[in-house]
Amino acid sequence: MNYLMRRLAAFPLVLLGVSILVFVAIRMVPGDSITAMLGTEAGLLTPAQRDSLAAYFGIDQPWFVQYWRWISGILHGNLGISVTYGRPVLDVILERFPLTLELAVLSMIIALIVGLPAGIFAATHNEKPSDLGVRVVAMIGQSTPSFVLGLLIIYTLSAGFGVLPAMGEFAPLWQDPLRNLGQLILPAITLGFAFAASVTRISRSAMLDVLSDDYVRTARSKGAPARSVIWRHALPNALIPVVTLSGIEFGYLLGGAVIVEQIYALPGLGRMVLDAILQRDYALVQGSVLFIALNFMIVNLLVDLAYVALDPRIRLGEQ
């Protein structure tokens, strides 16, 4: 409990650090909201016009004033207003987040359903042709960029079969679950493929380690059935690195899968952040990076807590 409290107490500090980093980083990139809106036509503006637009975008004040305004807004639960959407940043983020979360969960389910059994299978068939086969597929999975796989799927479906999930208008899960699943399953497969490949590789090597441990040999010599040795004795211990990997991957996915969202035209967090950066929507970039950082921290905490559940020997926070 103490450990949990201490971890939670560190959250504001980390978020403060992230807020400074993102605030500085986005302002260090040349170009501003005015050039993002007007492009080269910005050169036609008179200094007075420029000042007036800078005031409109909220970039007319010195950086420390801008930062103070932003931070004090956050303390009052206000992440600022997005100039692109003309709405509060938090509203825009919360509107996009369910899709990103759903996509992350779906790809993780695919990755675990495919990757874990494949890894265990490969480990139990170590150095046999079937192990080699699994490893080759996993290698291909890890090295295929998601845009290649995504475009390949889209091309094959549209050119070969004349079908494609409805693009452009996304149906949220609670409005039309079937259509929603139809729209998300291909992106989830695209993302889950590489994810599954990593899970396969890591669960295979973890399983191989565990299978050579004394306690597994003991279990076998006591006559425990092979299936029980693998699933009851070996697997829980082999799961720890898998949980670590999945946690990190899941944390990344919660930040949005930019490329897959671009290809499948999904209005998720990744695409929103990318557009916000390109359009120099400072408030939106800052707000969403903070939000993503918070998610990442929560996932990390959950992963650490999961260790305890998996291995009772681990006592978090104790020296």
């Binding site: 809106m37 079908v163 999930p165 390109l278």
Partner: protein, 504 residues
């Protein structure tokens, strides 16, 4: 046959699994897609290509240009310059109404132009209207612009959606940009930035009934995905940027590609304020060493046309008549030697990633061509905003650019090649001849005489070579073959979507 049936069955099964249908087109709504969305709704402030394309369906200027770049009526039914060219009078269409039901009057026109001219608005197009001294409204249907000097190009500038007429009441309420109330063929019902726009027909439009009940625009960032969505008939009409995707469209039996040469131009900008580009002969050696057709063929699959500085068909000179439009490496080497750079020099060329999609390829072809005369180019590709920032500061040796064109050469080039031009710092080149030809062209009302003036301007510009004009590309739209009535134009406008129909 068995193979076909199987393929069909698996397709249907897959479609059922994905919860989708193969044909989803509704009769009266046009489903459209583009890869880049509008960036805002204020017609006076937006300059991005997609923003203009969206806004010109909602708002109307006083006049428009047609496919041959001739001025035609929009809100104004007629217009007239006074003899001294210093007074421009418009008669407004009495049927013109804003989408909130109120009539478009001369007071709205006056208020709109005053808003553009007000520095607080931040309208980039203000630079085109600085000759407006005052605006009179003798009656509700007549507007008189008093100009401080003869300004013929102002009429063309008024055809742009950046000079759209907005309701005076909305200006007063400060709601321009948050609410879109125009007098155009469509009303904006919904805008979800970077995702979707929903437009419905404006039943009160003075231009008559629209051909469709509405337009739904989806933002599909990947153009290969747009093509896939068109194959499955989810999308009826799309705007395409990438020539690589556009050239695939004719391979699909149900699709049609519309392409038309545009006014914007691909150019290699030199910076004549940096050594050794300060030397005329060095600048002249560069176009002599470049094979423009090869740049076009390699970077853009030959999709375009080699051009001189003027891209307006009625005014353009045959490029082969201009300085060094035929590659002549020997001449280039000779010029370099005469300038004292027989061994060449090193320079950096900047380009924006993906804007245009061909930028990197253009830079690479030019790099290899210039290597033949000893010019070593270092290519630096940048994110668009970073590029724009460097470009506006004139902070580059050379730049690969895709610059916008206008229907009038004065509006198109006064920013770069007049002494008071706003982008003079980008061009970094002052030339008395160019300046005086621009001023003459601005005041001349006789089209034949204007043509002569601008031909001389073009010839001189190519000769002094501050920039090397490469080619104009096409604007591409793709459509299902059952869509009728779309007219592509060199300005890239999608205004003719107002009369497009969907055949059953």
């Amino acid at each position: 046959m068995i193979h076909l049936t199987r393929k069909l069955l698996s397709g249907i099964t897959l479609a059922a699994m994905l919860g989708i249908t193969t044909v989803s087109t509704q009769a009266a709504t046009l489903h459209m897609a583009w890869s880049q969305d509008a960036t805002g709704l204020d017609p006076h402030k937006q300059t991005a290509f997609s923003s203009l394309r969206l806004l010109e369906l909602i708002y109307e200027p006083l006049v428009r240009v047609d496919a041959s770049l001739q001025i035609i009526p929009a809100i104004a039914t007629s217009w007239e310059f006074s003899k001294d060219g210093k007074e421009l009078t418009f008669r407004l269409d009495p049927k013109a109404k804003f989408q909130d039901g109120t009539a478009v009057t001369s007071a709205d026109v006056k208020a709109s132009f005053e808003r553009i001219l007000d520095e607080k608005t931040g309208a980039a197009a203000r630079a085109n209207f600085l000759s407006i001294a005052s605006i009179d409204t003798p009656d509700a249907a007549t507007v008189v612009f008093h100009l401080s000097q003869p300004d013929v190009p102002i009429l063309t500038a008024m055809s742009d959606v950046n000079a759209a007429i907005v309701p005076a009441s909305e200006i007063k309420a400060g709601s321009i940009g948050t609410k879109a109330v125009g007098s155009g063929p469509f009303k904006l019902d919904k805008w979800d930035p970077n995702a979707k726009e929903v437009l419905s027909a404006n039943k009160d439009w003075a231009g008559g009934a629209t051909g469709v009940d509405g337009i739904e625009i989806s933002v599909l960032p990947d153009e290969a995905a747009i093509l896939a969505a068109m194959r499955t008939k989810q999308i009826d009409f799309a705007l395409l940027n990438d020539p690589l995707v556009a050239t695939l469209v004719p391979k699909e039996a149900s699709l049609q590609l519309n392409r038309v040469p545009v006014l914007s131009y691909h150019v290699l900008q030199l910076n004549p304020s940096r050594k050794p580009m300060t030397e005329l002969k060095v600048r002249q050696a560069i176009p002599c060493a470049i094979d423009r057709q090869e740049v076009l063929d390699t970077a853009s699959l030959g999709e375009g046309k080699v051009t001189g500085p003027l891209t307006i068909p009625a005014l353009a000179t045959d490029p082969s008549q201009l300085f060094c439009y035929k590659r002549d490496v020997e001449k280039a080497k000779k010029l370099m030697a005469e300038a004292g750079f027989a061994d060449g020099f090193s320079a950096t060329v900047i380009g924006a990633t993906g804007e245009p999609p061909t930028a990197a390829a253009e830079a690479q072809v030019i790099q290899s061509q210039l290597a033949e005369i000893g010019v070593k180019l270092d290519i630096k590709m940048m994110e668009l905003n970073v590029y724009v920032d460097a470009w506006l500061k004139g902070d580059f040796d050379m730049a690969i650019a895709l610059n916008g064109g206008r229907a009038d050469p004065y509006t198109m080039y006064n920013r770069y090649w007049t002494k008071a031009g706003n982008l003079q710092k980008v061009a970094n080149y002052i030339d008395d001849t160019l300046d005086s030809l621009m001023q003459k062209g601005r005041a001349e009302t006789d089209p034949a005489k204007r043509k002569v003036i601008f031909a001389e301007f073009e010839k001189h510009l190519a000769e002094v070579s501050p920039w090397i004009w490469l080619y104009t590309s096409y604007s591409y739209t793709a459509q299902q073959k059952n869509i009728a009535g779309f007219v592509p134009t060199p300005t890239g406008t999608l205004f003719s979507l107002s009369k497009v129909t969907i055949q059953q």
